[in-house]
């Protein structure tokens, strides 16, 4: 993604607002934008979700393929998460091979889900050493107005949780729901005007500094962390956002559960 020159005016404006404990869209420091979550919205995907946070809109789709298990893990299938930010999503996203930014997005979302252990790769084995399921999770940005990380993370876990293993189409048994035992949720905080805020929008991303992504599991266990962009933060700052992440992750997890119950 090509980042335009950040006008110093925008940085100065955001800093002035922060000094008065304000944000440019009148949100509180740890207040997110309204979130919409819709599941099972892509008819050709085996599991899917659409997330809207303000003007950020993303999709996630789950597909399955049959793979040969790796020789050192003959009883296990695989999970792959790929993020694509195509130029449809904003004027600064460019065509071409995946940029470092979109690769980072995919890998951070992947780690949160993989490391939570919500998918038992041994359950994906069909015939040991011969056939296993590969679960492929594709997240796709429709409109980027900031914080694609959290939108991708939320869409990803919601899509996995309503996925059906298409065993009949591959003639290896009966269709069954994909077993997803946990609901890892990511919360991201950006340093804007010298303090961390939750769910930064595009302007705050452009006029801000470093960002921290935290993925928490059902039991508040940490499953992935990532610090991105240039900036310095203190232990006290991290402790505060980690505390904030716990309550926000729980709210978003309830939202996922409710959306799936409505199905």
């Amino acid at each position: 993604m090509s980042i335009p020159l950040v006008p110093n005016l925008l940085r100065a404006h955001l800093a002035e607002l922060a000094a008065e404990d304000k944000r440019h869209d009148d949100r509180g420091q740890f207040q997110g934008r309204d979130v919409e979550l819709e599941v099972n919205c892509l008819p050709r995907a085996e599991g899917s979700a659409r997330v809207r946070m303000g003007d950020t809109i993303v999709l996630a789709g789950v597909k399955f393929q049959i793979m040969t298990p790796y020789p050192d893990r003959p009883n296990e299938g695989g999970l792959m998460c790929s993020a694509e930010v195509r130029p449809v999503a904003g004027r600064n996203w460019e065509a071409g091979p995946p940029s470092a930014e979109s690769i980072e997005l995919g890998r951070v979302v992947d780690r949160g889900i993989r490391e939570s252990g919500c998918i038992n790769t041994e359950d994906l084995c069909i015939i040991p050493g011969e056939k296993a399921w590969q679960v492929i999770l594709d997240v796709f940005a429709v409109s980027d107005d900031g914080n694609l990380f959290d939108a991708f993370g939320l869409a990803a876990i919601a899509a996995l949780r309503n996925a059906t293993v298409p065993a009949e189409r591959f003639e290896v048994g009966e269709d069954m729901p994909l077993d997803v035992s946990k609901t890892p949720i990511m919360c991201s905080y950006h340093k804007v005007g010298g303090r961390f805020v939750y769910d930064a929008d595009k302007r705050e991303e452009l006029g801000g500094d470093e960002r921290i992504h935290i993925t928490l599991g059902d039991d508040d266990h940490v499953h992935s962390l990532q610090k991105g962009l240039k900036g310095i933060f203190t232990a006290a700052e991290f402790a505060e956002i980690n505390e904030q992440a716990r309550s926000r992750c729980a709210e978003l997890r309830d939202m996922v559960n409710n959306a799936l119950e409505g199905e």
């Binding site: 050709r44 899917s48 789950v62 130029p87 980027d144």
Partner: protein, 238 residues
């Protein structure tokens, strides 16, 4: 054109697998503003097809070698999302999407008043979210609405639709089975106000009479789809 012929696409009463008669268009609905950060955008749902088009610009054209001194260039990309089909599509450009991007750009350049924006570029992004035959037509149609939604001056919009032949019967607006097992496919890009064409492809086998029938079906279907395009842009029911 698979031509395997073992799927019965039309029953003895002339009904198609999705319950349509041979001259009927799949249900079409269009909405605008679906990509809030873009200058113009549209989503078309057409049968099971679900396609998003976004327009950015006119903007500075770079690299400079793509600039034209007397007009704007249209930078069009057609892409199918990995989860848009039964078998996952590996991300990245391929020969098919590149060809469709090219013919789509040429169709749209025929109606956009590019000479108003010399040395600039207008980006048109077409993303197929869910595919069910006729995605190039859905893409061109959605892109036209997105350009109009962005306020880009055009002489007309382009309505694109494909008719074809299955079991030797000409049918309007092919669905997935008819596209896979049928014998001909004739996609056209039509200017609804004049009946002129800016896009034409065909593959398969059609007699002169069948060709004329498919042509006429496309013209009739274009009228139906054009009404929905206008309704989406004007807002509310027409």
């Amino acid at each position: 054109m698979g031509g395997y012929g073992d799927v019965q696409c039309i029953d003895e009463n002339g009904m198609r697998l999705d319950g349509r008669t041979k001259d009927e268009v799949r249900p079409v609905s269009i909405e605008t503003g679906v990509v809030p950060v873009a200058d113009g955008s549209a989503r078309i749902r057409w049968g099971l097809n679900d396609c998003i088009a976004a327009v950015y610009g006119p903007m500075e054209a770079h690299p400079r070698k793509i600039q034209r001194q007397d007009r704007a260039v249209l930078d069009v990309r057609y892409n199918m999302a990995p989860f848009s089909t039964t078998d996952r599509i590996r991300p990245g450009f391929n020969r098919r999407s590149r060809e469709i991007s090219k013919v789509t750009a040429e169709a749209l350049e025929s109606v956009v008043l590019t000479e108003l924006y010399p040395r600039s570029k207008i980006r048109v992004e077409i993303e197929i979210i869910c595919a069910e035959a006729g995605t190039r037509c859905a893409g061109i149609t959605a892109a036209s609405v997105a350009l109009a939604h962005a306020g880009i001056p055009m002489t007309d919009m382009v309505v694109s639709v494909a008719s074809g032949k299955v079991h030797d019967i000409v049918v309007c607006d092919l669905n997935k089975e008819e596209d896979n097992y049928g014998e001909a496919d004739l996609p056209m890009g039509i200017l609804p106000n004049t009946g002129e064409l800016v896009f034409l492809q065909m593959d398969g086998d059609l007699s002169p009479e069948q060709f004329q029938q498919a042509w006429d079906y496309n013209m009739e279907a274009a009228e139906v789809i054009h009404k929905e395009m206008v309704r989406a842009l004007k807002g509310g029911d027409e």
